[in-house]
Each structure stands twice: as structure tokens, then as C-alpha cells.
């Protein structure tokens, strides 16, 4: 039965669906990234500069 279901599905639009999904996901992550504040990104970017634990750590 599973074989029947799988073989009866039309896969011809898969590439277009994939492209659509990609665009939606990409737009979402660009939006999310752009909402980061300057203060937050500055703190994140400074993490590798020190080997010590720098508080506060929950930025």
C-alpha cells in the first residue's frame, strides 16, 4: 500500500516547491538577522577575542 501511495504521487513539481520553500526560509532568516541589535551583535562578535569568561553571558 505504501508503495502504491509513493508511486502515485506526482513528483514533477518537486523542484519548484523546493525553490519556493528555500525562498521563504531565506527571507525569514534575513529578516531575523536584521532584527538583531547592534549591542547584541557587538557582544557576540567579541566572544573569540577573550579566552576568559566575560560576564554577562546571556546577551
Amino acid at each position: 500500500m505504501l508503495r502504491d501511495v509513493i508511486t502515485s504521487i506526482d513528483y514533477s513539481r518537486t523542484a519548484e516547491i523546493a525553490l519556493g520553500l528555500f525562498v521563504v526560509a531565506f527571507v525569514g532568516l534575513v529578516y531575523g538577522t536584521m532584527r538583531l541589535s547592534r549591542r547584541t551583535t557587538d557582544r557576540y562578535a567579541s566572544i573569540p577575542l577573550s579566552d576568559r569568561v566575560e560576564d554577562p553571558r546571556d546577551g
Binding site: I6, F26, T41, P48, L49, D55, G59
Partner: protein, 795 residues
């Protein structure tokens, strides 16, 4: 050393972790030192083998004098050794050194388990050693960068996932820094994706300890291989090196990365896009057109994030360019990142179908790969090592001047390498397609196109030697710095509390529309759009890993499912039959000798190709090819329609010394095939494995050795009748591996033009065979009754 818990003192406790216990910890640099040493050692080996392999293309008989040992040192066997050593030994150890050093410092904790680290190190070195032994012995799957056979593949999976992956993930889980810095994201993507790629590309049915047949065949095997192959470049040679860049470049430049936002976009774009791009390695092949087009489209998209990453790297040096003039570390990084930009510009360019039709199978690809491998991976590794050496060995670098010399020698070496090879690639591509006004090939003799570029190959050797000599400078600097190390390393102890549970610090995002006259739904949407949920994901390693995995798996499934399930992608051809037992054995010799390194078996539907090689290759022609043998490069001509083109004796002479029948050939002698005996008994296992995978064998299952001998007799008789010897030394012609290989070569491409067997004929054959079995207990069927015999008919 394990973390130790110490009582909290009021002055040390963080306001965010009230009541938390302070812990002291030390970073484990010993494991980084080990991986750094292995990087240097294997780097020198990989580059030495590379130079030898490059020399073999100009002097194919270089090791001919070694007699029986020469067979282990042919281009076909050593080339995979070079690529595996460069990728998995040199670059692999480099990324492990980078990850072990930076992960601890980014997580502000020691690696979770020292023991797993050691198991990882020694396990990986044993795998490299196993590769160095098995590849020259001809034990290979023939899939590029996935050549190693199944027992080693299992070891790789155990070491990668069980030792490295678990240790890395547990370190992330027990970290003391809430935010996972972007370099860690790149490492996560590396860990999960490489595991996925490795496992699914290496699914096989074993035929003994040293041989296996791929679970996939033909088109699907090609698709899986280049899904793996391209993403090995993406997730083994790109993402971990980007993590390396995002950590070590700010450290060396002593300033934060130019744009953290850009680094996030860089990461997610690569993870989303890269995984789709593999099919661009198969343009104009028998791969379905839609998959090829999608591979090209996503490859073109890669331009944006790749250049975003390059710009981010170079702009991190804003205000610090004066340091580049004096600091060899930054010099290496600048050139490395620039090569990243160049290689990632060229990659999408090569994925454009019209460009690819010219570049594919030529040395252009080799130049592209080496500009990435030497320029990006090599230079970034060197920069990292020169930055690490004084810190790991706690003494100044032995010679900064020598490091600067290394930089210049390596940079010039890369240019001396790639420029002639780019020229060679373009020359090859243009000569292959050149036609006169009457529509005939201007260079119909393939050897002529090879001879034209031999001078380019010669210059390339000097480029390789320069790069290798730079590597030896690093070896010297490494050793001398190591010798000046202190008797006991100073291991600073850091003190900090563990992170509290995330829920304790989570700030629930309240909508800024709370007091506004807006529907509740609107408030929720506004709160969701603040993306705080994403911030929390970034802090949670397991969720983050699952997300990354999902991005990769979903993309993969969108390509894999249609490729495997739409029957129209691989239309079957009635006349295409499985290989005879002898041909199957010959095919395995073809694979073991690494013939695919120089010969493709895929004629593209391009006029110049069909004129040179014949009818273009159809998807249905390779349904019994496990693994597929389409190849990726043509140092020699395509062999897809080799069957019946030349006499069997011609092939015999060609193996003995190619120049006897093909003057100017750069193919090495394969004399050992003329004296090495074929193991007929072993053929049964191979036939059964192929049958298990779907090849419709019947009588062959029980009588494979006997059938193979019968076919060998026919071919041997041909060779003798054409002037060949009956025996060589004390080995009879019919017993040789050469005969099996000739049987395979004579079969290539002939099925397409063979009349399809009708149902009544098939039934008749079955009846005849059954009758023979009834009478003679399955002894010997008449030659003319077995369809396979037709395949080995005299030419």
C-alpha cells in the same frame, strides 16, 4: 584534566548565576598539538604524493623499473591516495586542530572528554594509514573522495560520530558561554552533514572484506556520489574552514569580525544552498535535466553568500592592514580568503551549462580545485598553524622570516601550478570541440590533444614542487619551535560558574502592541516577528543541530526522491543486460586499477562528442553499473562505446605497453595484468552480490566460474588468432586478469545497438538451459544458447 568544582566566593559569582558553583577549568591544548603535528606530517605526504602523481602524467613509466611493485604506483592508484591524503589527512587534521582549539575557548570550557579526543585522534590516523595501504593495493570503491572500502568506512563513521561528534556536541551542551559564536555553527554543520553524506553515499553490499557493490546503480549512484562529492567540498573543505576563519582571523587581527549579521547570513545561506548544488557535476550526462538545472541554479545562488563571507573576512582587517605587511599569519589569511572568493566565483561560473560543456572533463576543473585546495584550505591552514605554534608550544615561532618565505613560495607555487593548468584545460576543451567547415573534427586523434598539453603538465610540476618546498619550511619551523618548548607547559586555570538553565534567563517577548487597540492575533504575530525564538535556538545546541540537519535533509530529499522514484528519469532499455561473470570480474579490475581517473564512460549529447565517440549515453545503459563509472576527467578518451572498436589483441598490446599501439600515449604499462591470475572462484560471490542488488542472473549464480572460463577461452582464442601469445611465462592467457578486463572493455556500449531479446527468445533460452540442466546436471550449456556469449563474439 577534568573540571574541578570550587566553592563560590562572593566576589567571583556572577549576578546572572546566583548561587552557582564556580568551577575551575583548563583548556586541553595537548590534543590540539597532536592534530597540528598530524596536519604538518600528512600535509607534506599529501603534497609529495601530489607531486609524484603530477610527474607520472609527464613520465608515465617513472616506476616501470620497479618491476612487480610498479603496479602499486600507477597514476590510477596513486591519484586517489593524493586526494584522500590532501582532503582527509591534511585538511582533516587541520580542521580538527582548529575545532579542538577554538571550541574550548568559544565555549569557555575544556573538551567534554579527553579520552574521546584521544580515540578520535588515533582512530583518524589509523584510518589514514589504512587508506595509504589499501588504495595503492587497488582496494577502492572508485567513488571520488569516497574510495575507501566498507570496513574503513565503518571505522570513519564510528570515529566521526562516536568519538568526535559526541565529544563536540557534549562540549557545546556543557559550555559556559550562552551564545554559540558563529564559528561553532559552521562546525555543527560540518559534523552533522559530513556524517550524513558519508553514511548515505557509502551504502554497499560487501563482497568480502575488500570489495563491495554500491546500493545504487548508474544514474542514481552518480547522483548520490556527486551529492556527496560536492558537499564534501562544502562541508569538509568550506564550512569548517569558515569556522576557522571566523575564529582565528579576529584573533590574529585582534579585532572582531566586520559584520556578525553578515556571518549569520553567510552561514544559513551556505547550509540552505550548498546541499542542492551537487548535480552541476553531471551536466549533459544521463542525469535528468531538471536535476542538472536545479544544481546550476543553486550553484549560481552561492555567489552571494560566498562573496559575503569573503568580504566579511577581508573587512575584518579594516584598520589593521598595516599588520598584514609584517605578520605572516595575516598574509596567509588574506591570500587564503582571497582564494576563497576566487574559487567560489569560479565554481558557480563552471556550473553554468554552456561553460561546463567546455570545462567538464578537462584540466580546468583540476585548476579550479587546486586554487581552492591550495589557495583556500592550504593558506588558511598555514596561517592558523603559524598563529598556533607559539601558543601551543609556549615559545616564540622559531623563524618568522622563514614563515614569510613560506608565504611567498607557496603563493608563487599556486600561481605556477594553476596558470598552466587553466591554459591546459581551455586548450583541451577547445581542441576536443574544434570542427572544420565540413563538420569534421579538426583533432580526431585524442592523443594529439594530450600531447599539446604535456608542456603545461611539466610546468605544473614546478608549481607543485614550490608549494611542497614551502610545506617543508613549515615542517622545519614546526620542529624547531617544538624543540624550544618549555619542559612543562604552563596551563592557565580559568574560573567561572556553569550556565544556569536557559529558562531561568529567558525573557518572554512581550508584544510592543500590548496596550494598543490590536487583535490578540496581531499581538502574537508581532511578538513572533521579534524573532526571540530564533535567539533561543541559537543558544541551544541540540535544537540548533536538528535545525541544521533538517535544512540539509529536506533539501536532499527534494532532489533524491524524484531522482529515485520517477521512473521516467531512468528509462530502461530492453537490450541492456547484466554483465557476464567474466565481464563483471573485468569490471572490478577496471575499478581497482583506477581507470576512471583518466577515462570517462559518459558521452554527452554534444555534436563534437558524438562525432568522436558515437551515440550519446543513455540513462538506461548503466542500470547494472555498481558503482557507476562515468568519470570526471579525460586524460584518456571516453570508453563508453569502446566495445568492438578495437581487437582484443590490440587491448593486450595496449596493456603491455600503450605506446606499441598508441604512440605518444601517457598511459602507464599494465603488464602485471598479463601475468596476474584471475581468481575465478571469487567470481561467484560477485555475481551473487550483483544478483542481490537486482541483476537478473540465473545460471550464473551456480556456474559463474565455469561460464567465465568459457568466455575467457573465446577471448583468448581471439587474441591468439590475432597474433597474441598462448602464455606468458608460466601463466596461460585464459587465466590472466587482462582477459577479464578485455571482456569488460569489449562489452562497453554494445548493448544499445544489440537487438532486444524477444519474450519468446528469452523463454526459449530458459527452456534450453533447463533442458541442459535436466540432462547434464547443469554442466555446460551450448555457447550459442546463452545470450551472454553474444557479448564476447569475435570482433
Amino acid at each position: 584534566m577534568a573540571n574541578a568544582v570550587t566553592p563560590v566566593s562572593e566576589s567571583q559569582s556572577s549576578g546572572e548565576h546566583p548561587g552557582g558553583e564556580l568551577e575551575s577549568f583548563q583548556y586541553n591544548d595537548s590534543i590540539t598539538r597532536m592534530f597540528a603535528a598530524a596536519t604538518v606530517l600528512w600535509g607534506a605526504v599529501a603534497m609529495l604524493v601530489g607531486t609524484i602523481v603530477a610527474s607520472l602524467m609527464v613520465m608515465p613509466k617513472l616506476f616501470f623499473e620497479l618491476g612487480p611493485y610498479g603496479e602499486f604506483l600507477t597514476f590510477g592508484r596513486l591519484r586517489p591516495l593524493h586526494t584522500n591524503a590532501a582532503i582527509f589527512a591534511f585538511a582533516g587534521n587541520a580542521i580538527f586542530a582548529a575545532i579542538y582549539y577554538s571550541t574550548q575557548r568559544l565555549c569557555k570550557c575544556r573538551m567534554w572528554s579527553d579520552t574521546l579526543g584521544l580515540l578520535h585522534f588515533w582512530g583518524w590516523q589509523l584510518i589514514i594509514l589504512a587508506a595509504a595501504i589499501t588504495l595503492p593495493l587497488g582496494i577502492t570503491q572508485s567513488k571520488e573522495y569516497a574510495e575507501l572500502e566498507w570496513p574503513i568506512d565503518i571505522a570513519i563513521a564510528v570515529v566521526w560520530v562516536g568519538f568526535f561528534g559526541v565529544n563536540f556536541m557534549m562540549t557545546l551542551i556543557t559550555r559556559r558561554e550562552r551564545h554559540m559564536y558563529v564559528a561553532l555553527w559552521f562546525y555543527i554543520a560540518t559534523v552533522v552533514t559530513v556524517a550524513l553524506l558519508h553514511v548515505f553515499n557509502n551504502l554497499v553490499v560487501p563482497v568480502g572484506w575488500f570489495k563491495s557493490y554500491s546500493l545504487y546503480a548508474g544514474v542514481q549512484d552518480a547522483f548520490m556520489q556527486w551529492w556527496y562529492g560536492h558537499n564534501a567540498v562544502a562541508f569538509f573543505l568550506t564550512t569548517p574552514f569558515l569556522g576557522l576563519m571566523y575564529y582565528f582571523l579576529p584573533k590574529a587581527a585582534e579585532r572582531p569580525v566586520f559584520s556578525y549579521k553578515l556571518s549569520i547570513l553567510h552561514f544559513w545561506s551556505l547550509v540552505f544552498i550548498y546541499i542542492w548544488a551537487g548535480p552541476h557535476h553531471l551536466h549533459y550526462t544521463a542525469l535528468p535535466e531538471w536535476a542538472s538545472t536545479m544544481g546550476m541554479l543553486f550553484s549560481l545562488m552561492l555567489w552571494m553568500p560566498s562573496w559575503g563571507g569573503m568580504i566579511n573576512g577581508l573587512l575584518t582587517l579594516r584598520g589593521a592592514w598595516h599588520k598584514v605587511a609584517t605578520d605572516p599569519v595575516l598574509k596567509f589569511f588574506v591570500v587564503g580568503i582571497t582564494f576563497y572568493g576566487m574559487a567560489t566565483f569560479e565554481g558557480p561560473l563552471l556550473s553554468i551549462k554552456s561553460v561546463n560543456s567546455l570545462s567538464h572533463y578537462t584540466d580546468w576543473t583540476i585548476a579550479h580545485v587546486h586554487s581552492g585546495a591550495l589557495g583556500w584550505n592550504g593558506m588558511m591552514t598555514f596561517g592558523m598553524l603559524y598563529w598556533l605554534l607559539p601558543r601551543l608550544f609556549q615559545t616564540p615561532l622559531w623563524s618568522s622570516k622563514l614563515a614569510t618565505w613560506h608565504f611567498w613560495v607557496a603563493t608563487i607555487g599556486i600561481l605556477v601550478y594553476i596558470v598552466p593548468i587553466y591554459a591546459a584545460g581551455l586548450t583541451q576543451g577547445l581542441m576536443w570541440r574544434e570542427m572544420d567547415e565540413t563538420g569534421r573534427l579538426v583533432y580526431p586523434d585524442f592523443i594529439e590533444t594530450v600531447q599539446t598539453i604535456v608542456p603545461h603538465w611539466t610546468i605544473r610540476i614546478f608549481g607543485g614542487l614550490l608549494f611542497l618546498s614551502g610545506m617543508l619550511m613549515l615542517v622545519l619551523n614546526f620542529l624547531m619551535t617544538w624543540r624550544a618548548r618549555p619542559a612543562v607547559y604552563d596551563e592557565p586555570t580559568y574560573t567561572a560558574a556553569r550556565l544556569g538553565p536557559y529558562r531561568d534567563v529567558e525573557r518572554v517577548a512581550a508584544s510592543s502592541l500590548e496596550d494598543k487597540p490590536v487583535l490578540e492575533l496581531g499581538k502574537r504575530v508581532e511578538a513572533w516577528a521579534r524573532m526571540d525564538w530564533h535567539r533561543s535556538w541559537e543558544r541551544l545546541p541540540v535544537k540548533f543541530t536538528v535545525l541544521t540537519l533538517l535544512a540539509v535533509v529536506i533539501a536532499t530529499l527534494f532532489e533524491v526522491i524524484p531522482t529515485f522514484l520517477i521512473r521516467g528519469n531512468v528509462p530502461t532499455i530492453a537490450s541492456v543486460k547484466p554483465y557476464t561473470p567474466l565481464e563483471l570480474a573485468g569490471r572490478d579490475i577496471y575499478v581497482a586499477e583506477g581507470c576512471f581517473n583518466c577515462h570517462s564512460q559518459m558521452i554527452r549529447p554534444i555534436v563534437a562528442e558524438t562525432k568522436r565517440y558515437g551515440e550519446y549515453s543513455k540513462p538506461g545503459e548503466s542500470i547494472y553499473d555498481r558503482p557507476f563509472q562515468w568519470g570526471s576527467r579525460r586524460i584518456g578518451p571516453d570508453l563508453a562505446r569502446e566495445g568492438g572498436l578495437r581487437s582484443s589483441f590490440w587491448h593486450w598490446l595496449h596493456f603491455e605497453d600503450p605506446e606499441q599501439v598508441s604512440p605518444g600515449s601517457v598511459m602507464p604499462n599494465y603488464e602485471h595484468l598479463l601475468v596476474n591470475r584471475l581468481d575465478f572462484k571469487q567470481i561467484t560471490d560477485r555475481v551473487r552480490a550483483a544478483h542481490l542488488l537486482g541483476a537478473p542472473y540465473d545460471r550464473e549464480l551456480d556456474e559463474a566460474p565455469q561460464m567465465a572460463r568459457e568466455q575467457a577461452e573465446v577471448i583468448a582464442a581471439e587474441i591468439v588468432s590475432q597474433g597474441g601469445p598462448v602464455k606468458r611465462g608460466d601463466v596461460l592467457l585464459i587465466e590472466t586478469q587482462a582477459v577479464a578486463l578485455i571482456a569488460y572493455l569489449q562489452r562497453l556500449g554494445v548493448d544499445l545497438t544489440r537487438p532486444a531479446e524477444t519474450d519468446s527468445e528469452a523463454a526459449g533460452d530458459a527452456t534450453t538451459e533447463e533442458a541442459v540442466e535436466d540432462v547434464g546436471g547443469g554442466a555446460t550449456a551450448p555457447d550459442e544458447d546463452t545470450p551472454d556469449e553474444d557479448d564476447s563474439a569475435p570482433l
